[in-house]
Symmetry: C2
Subunit: 129 residues, 2 copies
């Protein structure tokens, strides 16, 4: 693994996915699961929970880069734009910095919608085996 290494994950969150996550997390904010409520907000329709979108970073970190057994130390996320339910997003994780003294690295974490706009960005710090 070296600075610049990149991995990607593409995902579409369905209404079912969002409903399951609402129950799992107990985040039943109607903005995510109630179409009539969402219609009256500036978004106009239900949006995916930001933490569910961000979990794609965790998926890449834990299964691809660095991969299996990775230990998550820190994550920062900025929710830049809404991700609408049913929209396809692409999460990208790139190694930004590697410590020379310990097996710890910082990775940039960015998620874009199908128009190429950044919907979530931030960075992660992980320990790897």
């Amino acid at each position: 693994m070296k600075v610049g290494d990149t991995e990607v994950l593409v995902k579409t969150f369905t209404p079912d996915d969002v409903g399951i996550f609402a129950n799992l997390s107990e985040d039943r904010n109607p903005l995510h699961i109630d179409e009539a409520f969402a219609r009256k907000t500036p978004f106009g329709r239900p949006i995916v929970h930001g933490m569910l979108v961000s979990s794609l970073f965790s998926a890449i970190l834990g299964t691809k880069l660095p991969g299996k057994g990775t230990i998550y130390l820190r994550q920062e996320v900025n929710f830049r734009k809404p991700v609408f339910v049913g929209e396809t997003v692409t999460a990208t994780v790139e190694v930004a910095e590697m410590r020379s003294d310990k097996p710890i690295c910082t990775l940039s974490t960015i998620c874009r919608n199908s128009a190429g706009d950044i919907v979530v960005d931030g960075q992660a710090v992980v320990k790897f085996g």
Copy 2:
């Protein structure tokens, strides 16, 4: 709403919850779902995904404080200690700072295990209606 306002959510993530989240997020890091693998790590047994634990902050923000319709702008989380599958955790969100010019506030977000140790901490920034 004012600085110091606090809300709490208590939750136990079962093996089923963690399995569902692994599929939903595609984070199938075996540390979370494979007991034999987890036994060989420093943790000794499966741990809950940090992003699933952190979703309790989103739940409080979106349903209790500030509540329904809240828009998530930013979240930082530090994963301080493992949360074992089946362990009960208490997430606490407290208003730390309110902007005077806009309906935007910063909240401290802390999650403790049943021994009272901090397992996740950080802060959130949200816009409220």
